[in-house]
Symmetry: C2
Subunit: 84 residues, 2 copies
């Protein structure tokens, strides 16, 4: 099971460093999950972590889908990063 | 070559209908492209077009990457939709 980072409304760099920390703690894979407007932040966080901090980590999979919440539907993304 | 829909700052439904129109005009594949904050809108537009309007269309590929503009870097996404 990969470590999971849930993306909220903080700056992308915050989540990028969270991703980096997971890999530094020994994770082979990290899953970045976001909904709605945070999807853009998720993509930013993954790109920043890979471009600026991590060597030998690549995008293994990207899924987009719709989550049905109680009162509305919301788009979601899951980006799986892993050691290459 | 797939038809290309560039996502801007309009509501997702606008782009969803643009995607639907391309398939109705006979396209086998439609590429949805977005940068920065519009990435969330791109995901919404794809999900709305597939969930509400299109039958037999699926996500063929998703790429995320960094585009280097003159004065800054920006995250980008390309979502390829195609007839299944």
């Amino acid at each position: 099971m990969p470590s999971v980072i849930y993306i909220g409304s903080k700056a992308p760099i915050k989540y990028a460093t969270a991703v980096v920390t997971e890999f530094e703690k020994g994770a082979d894979e990290v899953m970045v999950k976001a909904r709605g407007k945070a999807i853009s932040t998720a993509v930013d966080a993954c790109q920043i972590s890979m471009n600026k901090f991590l060597e030998g980590v690549e995008i293994k999979d990207i899924k987009i889908f719709t989550e049905e919440l109680e009162d509305r539907n919301v788009s979601a993304i899951e980006i799986l990063l892993g050691k290459s």
